[in-house]
């Protein structure tokens, strides 16, 4: 089977056992996976080959994951990076994201979660790279930043996902069930979580503006209203 058309993933991980396992798991899912066992090798492979995604461990011999990530960004390689780490402190997360990582996963993780993140990252970076605009709202799917009337709005990851979903289907009503499935992967409607999130999202996006962009369609769902 040739690798043509399949997404290529580089796994940089110094523990051979885990590296091999991740390679197997990713290949079973239909990706092409390569491994590198230290930071320098990872950086070399990432710079000389074209990958669609890099799974990068933080604690690496020779060159740590943060350094690999910033070196890649310095070279202008904007491939999505998913960081793996054993430390679950905020500082580490902030450090990783500020060095240009796109997502962050704490070891030990479940492979379901790993695959979900990989899938989400690949989807995020495929195609839809341009900034989305609705009225005075701008949404950048790559840097995951949102501005309204030029002012930056801080959104939690889930809030961003909901807003992106609504903006992409601008003018169409999205059902609660569809949002829950798309954003949370949940298949139930009993939960009132979406109401809470929509409330927050409204507070952040529409508060203080005459033009309310998010509209509730009673009994159906939500939509971005540009009329």
């Amino acid at each position: 089977m040739s690798g043509f058309g399949r997404e290529r993933i580089l796994v940089v991980e110094d523990d051979q056992y885990i590296a091999d396992l991740l390679k197997q798991i990713l290949e079973k899912e239909g990706y092409v996976a390569r491994t590198a066992s230290n930071g320098a090798e990872g950086l070399f492979m990432a710079s000389s080959n074209s990958f669609d995604l890099i799974v990068l461990d933080v604690m690496l011999p020779e060159l740590d994951g943060f350094s690999v990530c910033s070196a890649l960004r310095d070279k202008g390689i904007n491939v999505p990076v998913l960081m793996l780490t054993v430390k679950d402190s905020v500082d580490d997360k902030v450090e990783g994201l500020s060095r240009g990582a796109d997502d962050y996963l704490t070891k030990p993780f479940s492979i379901e979660e790993l695959l979900a993140r990989v899938k989400a990252l690949l989807r995020r970076f495929k195609g839809y790279k341009s900034v989305l605009k609705v009225a005075d709202l701008e949404l950048d799917p790559v840097s995951r930043r949102v501005r309204r009337a030029g002012v930056e709005i801080e959104l939690s990851p889930k809030e961003f996902d909901i807003l992106e979903l609504l903006v992409r289907s601008m003018g169409k009503v999205i059902g609660e069930r569809a949002i829950l499935k798309e954003v949370w992967g949940l298949d139930c409607t009993k939960s009132n979580i979406l109401k809470v999130y929509m409330h927050h999202l409204r507070q952040k996006v529409d508060r203080g503006f005459d033009k309310k962009l998010i509209r509730t369609v009673r009994g159906v769902g939500y939509m971005i209203d540009v009329s």
Binding site: Y17, L21, S89, K93, K107, P108, I111, C188, S191, H200
Partner: protein, 457 residues
Amino acid sequence: MSLRRKIALWYVSTLVVLFLVFSLSLCLLLKKTEERSLELELFAKAEELEDALEQAPADAWPGILKDFPVQVAQIYEVSADEIKVLLSKPQGYPPLGLKEAERWAKRGIKGEYLLLSESLDGEVYDVVFMKLSEETPVKIVAVASSLEGVTKTVRHLVLIVLMVMPLLVVLAFLTSNILVKVSLTPVRRVIETAKAISVEDLSKRIPEVETKDEIGELVRTFNSMMEKLEESVNAIKRFSSDAAHELKTPLTALKSHLEFLLRENRCSDCEMELRQVLARVDRLIHIVNSLLVLAKLDSMDVRNLKNRVALDVVVLEVFERFQQQAQKRAIKLLIDRVDPVEVIGDAVLLSQAISNIVDNAVKFTPSGGEVRISLVKDGDKARLSISDTGVGMSQEELGKIFSYLYRGDPSRSERVPGIGLGLTIAKRIFELHDASVKVESDPGRGTSFHITFITQD
């Protein structure tokens, strides 16, 4: 009493005692010397008078006696049965020592002197007796001088000493205070530095002093002690992070591999066993995480918590994470109201603390029950409530739930996985964030946790 006062007090009292001893010795010595010189003078006078009297006829004696430069001079005549005063200067002066004169008349040899002290009218005199001639009736000459002068000198000296004393005490106290203050300044610095040192910042040292005295040694000892302390604390911190890596790497491999085998359906005949092993691995991961969080909490300082945390987002994330678990156990996990709230702290730790309480609520609520979460903002406070319709707890149990490794009634916790660290960790994290925790419980009806945060606007 401060060390400074103590040293000054010791210094002053020692000085006073030394001064007293010195003054007393001085007075005694002065008294002795004065007396001695008075005696010598008296002897010389006696000799001179003897010579003058011997060379002159007896009728010239009153004239000689009168002109002789001495305070008191008397001549006695001692016969076989009586003794009388022949001449006296000053005129009519009481006899200086008739008994002694009589004794000297019998035993004494011409050319020898007898010295004694006689008290007369409360005044002390030094008296010298000598024999003027051997033939009877024996004539005895007595020359005397009062000791009044000596006593006066000594008394003066004592007066001076008593006057100088208070002045000396005040001066000594002032100088000692200043001296001690100056020499204790480095100790003050040691104290100030020691106060500024905490587990979070062990890098502070006291500026080294060049002196080879005790203070210099104290500073060097303190600094080397800090060096060792800093090393060992760093070693502990390194250990925590090394342990995290060393433990989590094999656990990651185990968990991923087991999940991979199950996902691929590779061993359909031992799927049950694999799932059981995976459940144990998950529990082990939970324990390792709990222990690492505890270790981290122990070495943590409130001052390190400075990030703004959107507590509502943390609460919602926890809520999402427990959806599946709650569904599996047929428990309704509901969110009542979540106000946007910001607090200062560590989002990961807060998430862990809230998860631990929700986890507890879900575990101890029977199927068909409810767990409700709400976050309500009220002024500068925010109240997070997690209520369940679970088994509840007695008052006695309530007092113990936050203690280390407590796991509740054994009959029902047997079936519930966990190690009893969850609530301990949660409470410590909340305390670290200045949040107060209140628990209400009704056995058989449910438990409510109320955590009150101070918000950041």
